[in-house]
Subunit: 395 residues, 2 copies
């Protein structure tokens, strides 16, 4: 049996409790659910989550409800689901959406391969939507795949950056604490509602700044930048040679480390492992071969891996130009086939760019080329601009 809470042990629970997280999460084990899993203790409580997602997003100033607004082409609510799915002890997630958006929501679940999600129709208010979600969890119907939870987390669909530790605090508090006057004075509207109508105790848990709610258009911008930053923290450099210790590829790797000083730059020795660890940025350095053979191998591997389902993966194919052997124009012409590859892999959410690095004999000039190459690579990874795929940049 799992020990609960993970990393510690709390006192036994004491019957129905409801806890509010300031402006964000609410964990309920209200009367509606009181029959389910009432035995508490050190065992893991059965936890489910309800996401009210029936809002119309009036304040956003855009026609799409904010929970469906795209960030890097994926709807906001999918990021929130992803954040909850990562938490192994949340067993079921119920999303309340309007009848109008039911089909769109099903498509989102299918396309981004979300697991353990049930849909219910939202109500005319946020609280009615929550009620519908709780009802679905409480119902003990035949053929119903949902199990009755002991604690239910109520989480806004438009708070995509919720972390496991905050959710854990909320659930632990839902099992453990009483309430104070301070908490009651500074609660959220949900908290007040629960107190007024449910006659149950409540506690406010302070959230982190990351838990903020996407409300205005500026919040979408901020969310996009945060997501871009998060998936750019690690770059894998793949080389077509084993002799990289004394090699230009190795120098490029060093330059990248300087250019991106908060970013982990790793060598692609075990690509399958790196893909598993969810690295979303690949620099494929072609020193020995001068075409896209290595890049294609990498692209095939990425396409098979499903890595790019949730985030666009950036691949930069680096080639070198030695003016003495091939003229610049001819080299460029040879490499233009990258445009076709890029168009093809874009369908799998892979953003492919080319980079041609001038390779002079002069060591200082070579360093300068490599430095510029690193700047371009950093810019491409940071922006993840799908309008520039298939372009051949020159350093």
């Amino acid at each position: 049996m799992e020990s609960w809470p993970p990393g510690g042990s709390g006192p036994a629970g004491a019957g129905p409790r409801l806890r509010g997280l300031r402006g964000a999460d609410l964990a309920a084990s209200a009367s509606l659910l009181s029959g389910a899993g009432a035995e508490a203790g050190c065992s893991a409580p059965a936890v489910a989550a309800v996401l009210p997602a029936g809002g119309s997003g009036e304040r956003m100033g855009v026609p799409t409800p904010k929970q469906f607004c795209p960030i890097l082409e994926r709807p906001l609510i999918s990021y929130t689901l992803q954040a909850l799915e990562r938490v192994s002890w949340i067993k079921d997630i119920v999303v309340a959406v309007t009848g109008e958006n039911m089909e769109a929501m099903k498509c989102i679940i299918q396309r981004y391969q979300h697991k353990g999600i049930s849909l219910v129709e939202s109500g005319v208010t946020r609280h009615r939507s929550i009620f519908n979600g709780l009802k679905a969890l409480a119902e003990d119907q035949p053929n119903c795949r949902l199990s009755k939870p002991e604690v239910v987390i109520i989480h806004d669909a438009v708070r995509p950056f919720v972390e496991e530790d905050v959710l854990l605090k909320v659930v632990t508090a839902a099992k453990e604490h009483g309430c104070s006057d301070y908490d009651l004075d500074f609660g959220t509207e949900c908290l007040h509602l629960a107190l007024k109508y449910c006659h149950i105790k409540a506690k406010l848990i302070e959230g982190s700044p990351d838990l903020w709610k996407v409300t205005y258009k500026r919040d979408l911008y901020a969310a996009e930048s945060i997501i871009k930053e998060r998936i750019s923290q690690q770059i894998c450099v793949v080389m077509d040679t084993k002799e990289d210790e004394e090699h230009v590829g190795h120098h490029l790797e060093e330059m990248l480390k300087n250019e991106l000083n908060h970013v982990k730059v790793i060598s692609g020795r075990d690509l399958q492992q790196i893909i598993l660890e969810q690295c979303y940025n690949f620099v494929c350095v072609n020193v020995m071969t001068s075409d896209f053979e290595e890049t294609q191998k990498l692209l095939n591997m990425l396409e098979e891996s499903n890595l790019s389902i949730l985030y666009p993966v950036v691949v930069i194919s680096v080639q070198f130009l030695d003016y003495e052997s091939v003229p610049f124009g001819q080299k460029m012409e040879n490499l233009m086939q990258i445009r076709e590859f890029a168009k093809e892999v874009k369908k799998a959410n892979i953003l492919l760019y080319g980079l041609l690095v001038y390779y002079p004999q002069d060591e200082q000039k070579l360093q300068e080329s490599l430095r510029q190459g690193a700047t371009i690579i950093a810019a491409l990874i940071k922006e993840r601009n799908s309008g520039l795929i298939g372009q051949l940049l020159v350093a």
Copy 2:
């Protein structure tokens, strides 16, 4: 004499008043300043602004205080100063900064050519900083260039998107109204302070969502995206031919209008006027000439205009490739000089990119090239990525 308020006439003022704008602006004509310009009426009141900017930005999670954090390479506080400077009826702006940041602040004022700014040393708290700013405005010293104002707006240095209409409401309210219990209950800490210690009336004015405060790192991201969006609302297409009605340049213009459907695309007939109207995006289409002659003329004009002091100006030089007359490789080689131009004009905050558009005889293929060209132009303008300057993109 100017009529006041602009666009309407308010009743006569009634002595010292202090008004708070929810979480943002406070217009004070407190006892400290009561001797100055006490005659009210329909004449424009003498208005000054005090910006407390002594904060250390702890919540930002970065070592630079948030008011000095760069957005498109320019410190946040410069955007706030710019927003206040645009308001013709604000006569003086006093910024309170720490002694440590005094020199940096002077450099910012000089570099971004801010006018009418005075500096005072900040105090240990926000309120002491405001006090120092008010004192500077109240002092009647010889050689002091500041004139005693009737109304002083207190504005956070980290709220860069304040609009004239909100400031006008605050100043008008400072001259006109009494206060209500509701306002007092929901006031800001500044408002409460004023009430407690100054024995003056106060009123709360509701601000717009744009008035939000840059507090966390995500707010810097949001501010950057908002600024990028604002300066990308207008694109000027400059052509080297008068016969554009039947021409490829005209088609490209149409494609741009489709690609950027919220953006105004204008033809560059009177460039001086367009520069005066603060258009920050130029697409220079070279049909008749195949080098950078036209682009250079435009760059010279932009460099002389000072347009790029406040925002990076994007220039995209569009060339066409007719495979039948010049091979691709040779054309690319000819155009590589753009890298040197780009490096040069970057010093003047101009971001120069090249775009080579394939020009086939087949009308449908040409349309496809132009469509891709428009996508690339849109991507470059939207991102304003200085890491990619001097690159020659291919459509």
